[in-house]
């Protein structure tokens, strides 16, 4: 599975707690309230665990986390 799918599944299952939730790649995760501060920290921990990528604090910013698309784009700098 590619990173995008893994992240989408994680958000649906673990954060929205709804396997069948509708979630678009470009969905505004913050403006809709899907991600709160707790969920962001969980995501950071998940990215570390799942992909072995430690996102540095200065990169944990709105621009990189506002959608699954933005996050996947950001993660591209770390080879898979």
């Amino acid at each position: 599975m590619d990173r995008k799918t893994i992240l989408m599944d994680y958000i649906k299952n673990e954060i929205m707690r709804n396997r069948n939730a509708r979630l678009a790649e470009d969905e505004d995760l913050l403006g809709t309230g899907i991600l709160d501060s707790l969920a962001i920290l969980q995501m950071v921990a998940f990215i570390d665990e799942q992909f072995g990528i430690e996102v540095p604090d200065q990169d944990v910013v709105y621009e990189n986390f506002n959608s699954v698309q933005a996050l996947t784009e950001y993660l591209k700098q770390y080879p898979g």
Binding site: L30, G31, S37, I40, Q58
Partner: protein
């Protein structure tokens, strides 16, 4: 003469019409623009049947429209009711029904959420600020249409005793209750804050808290009294410490106000060294106890900034304050909540409502202009919330019962000891849950701690706790038990201490102890 919260905006619209009143994500409103646009909104509301004292909901993500909505409603003689834009639809609908909101102000971005709210049944008559949408089944008026209403000021017969806003908090039973504030109670607080923190029209205040959290009233109303600019922070950015640091730098924030948690995050993950935060002159915090070790670290990072701890339940705005000048190096004892604000009378009483002697523990009672009018639609709860002291046989002084236990220290500052109702019985002993949290926090490896009771089914309680360890530290439950065992009696040691990565939080950023407790109860039920 300033006797309505909106008067401050009108005053500065005359004095400094081109000064910025509101900043939001690159957009701005001058005092003149805020004045005229909120006048138009007030005309719109009146045209659509608003009567003096009517409640008007605000349901949207933050924006410059938040300020227009607040002042437009107040100028029309209504009371604004901020609805948490991220709350479940059923809760939003409950608040709308509970205080009988008929007109709601929103934005197109909320149309989806609005439909979910309406499906719960609301009694709403009209929605302002959104485009027409058949599925809403209600008349709407878009913002552009609102701005075409007259901009002239309104001359209504309003007094400082009129209802200005209602803030809903979750009651101890879980049913939200609406705390009613008048123009007077809002102004009493905002004028105190503007004077105490020497706010001027050169200041740029942060608005970090959501509108439904009472911290926001300082940001908007004390800011307007001073003719300052309030920088409204988008909800999305409040979740990212690195974004916040950049915002403080770029917006040249001078006065910051938030819960301690936001500041701790900012300090630990905000990459502060890479930013120029020299515009800051005051950091104000409220809402929770600021763990001393974190506060000390923060103060060391900002040697030229002054720090102030503001205390008060939503029912009293803020009622005590403490300027943190210096923290002793050798103790992590929590800082005081300080002394009563000017124009406030404080009284500490025992269980029989008799004043305690100096230095004894008791419940803090508060009297003065800052105190709420009461709880919306809950006469009994309101009556129980007040203590009446008869003076001269014919005159009554009315105090609000904070439900908080305090003690005066030798310097004459109040120390907060916990909630009266956070005192529980376990195995027959009376235990202060907050005291156990302080003991856990005194461990060098503990970042945050929460302690909660688990009913044991026999009328008593077991105590459980959860902590967040310092990053990268391998803490064991046994280390913690050993540590607090030196500080607390054995019956106060939690039967279980969970070590978590993060805590669930309420929409206002406080640790959600109720959810931690519910999770623990569910776990104990699933493993008998």
């Amino acid at each position: 003469m300033r006797y309505l919260l909106s008067h401050a905006v009108s005053e500065w619209a005359e004095r400094t019409p081109d000064n910025l009143a509101i900043r939001f994500s690159g957009q701005s409103l001058t005092y003149q623009e805020l004045e005229l646009k909120s006048n138009s909104l007030a005309h719109t509301l009146l045209e659509n049947g608003l009567q003096r004292g009517d409640r008007v909901g605000i349901f949207m993500n933050k924006g410059v429209e938040s300020a227009i909505a607040i002042y437009g409603i107040l100028k029309a003689g209504g009371a604004y009711v901020p609805l948490d834009p991220f709350a479940p639809a059923s809760r939003v609908a409950f608040v709308i029904r509970d205080c009988g909101i008929q007109q709601l102000i929103s934005k197109d971005a909320k149309l989806g959420a609005l439909k979910d709210v309406l499906a719960e049944g609301t009694g709403l008559k009209i929605i302002l600020g959104v485009s027409h949408d058949e599925e809403l089944g209600l008349p709407t008026i878009q913002w552009e249409e609102i701005y075409r209403f007259p901009t002239n000021p309104l001359h209504l017969n309003l007094t400082e005793q009129d209802l200005a806003y209602i803030l809903y908090t979750s009651g101890s039973t879980g049913v939200p209750k609406g705390i009613m504030h008048t123009h007077r109670s809002g102004l009493s607080f905002a004028e105190w804050a503007a004077a105490t923190y020497n706010l001027t029209n050169q200041d740029r205040l942060s608005n970090h808290a959501p509108l439904h959290f009472d911290l926001s009233t300082l940001d908007f109303f004390a800011g307007a009294i001073a003719g300052a600019c309030t920088v409204v922070i988008p909800e999305a950015l409040t979740k990212f410490p690195a974004n916040l640091a950049r915002l403080i730098q770029d917006e040249r924030i001078t006065v910051w106000y938030s819960v301690p948690f936001a500041l701790i995050q900012l300090m630990q993950r905000g990459n502060l060294a890479a930013h120029d935060l020299s515009s800051l002159r005051w950091i104000l915090f409220a809402g929770e106890v600021f763990p001393t070790k974190h506060l000390r670290a923060l103060m060391q990072m900002f040697p030229n900034v002054r720090f102030s701890n503001l205390y008060g339940p939503t029912e009293t705005n803020v009622c005590t304050y403490y300027h943190v000048d210096e923290l002793p190096e050798d103790t992590d004892e929590t800082i005081p909540i300080g002394k009563a604000c000017e124009n406030i009378e404080d009284l500490v009483v025992d269980l029989d409502d008799k004043p305690v002697s100096f230095g004894e523990v008791g419940e803090l009672l508060i009297r003065g202009g800052v105190v709420m009018k009461g709880y919306w639609g809950q006469a009994e709860k309101t009556a129980a919330g007040f203590f009446r002291r008869l003076q001269f046989d014919y005159f009554e002084d009315v105090f609000y019962r904070t439900g908080d236990l305090v003690q005066l220290d030798e310097q004459g500052y109040y120390r907060y000891l916990g909630r009266k109702d956070r005192q529980i019985k376990t195995r027959g002993y009376r235990v202060e849950l907050d005291e156990i949290e302080v003991a856990l926090l005194s461990h060098a490896g503990v970042d945050e701690a929460a302690v909660y009771p688990i009913p044991d089914g026999n009328g008593s309680n077991l105590i459980e706790a959860a902590i967040i360890a310092k990053e990268g530290l391998n803490l064991e439950e046994a280390d913690l038990v050993e540590h607090i065992g030196k500080r607390l009696p054995s019956y106060a040691i939690p039967v279980r201490i969970e070590i978590l990565i993060t805590f669930p939080r309420t929409s206002t950023g406080k640790i959600n102890r109720r959810e931690l407790q519910a999770l623990a109860v569910a776990r104990s039920e699933s493993q008998p």
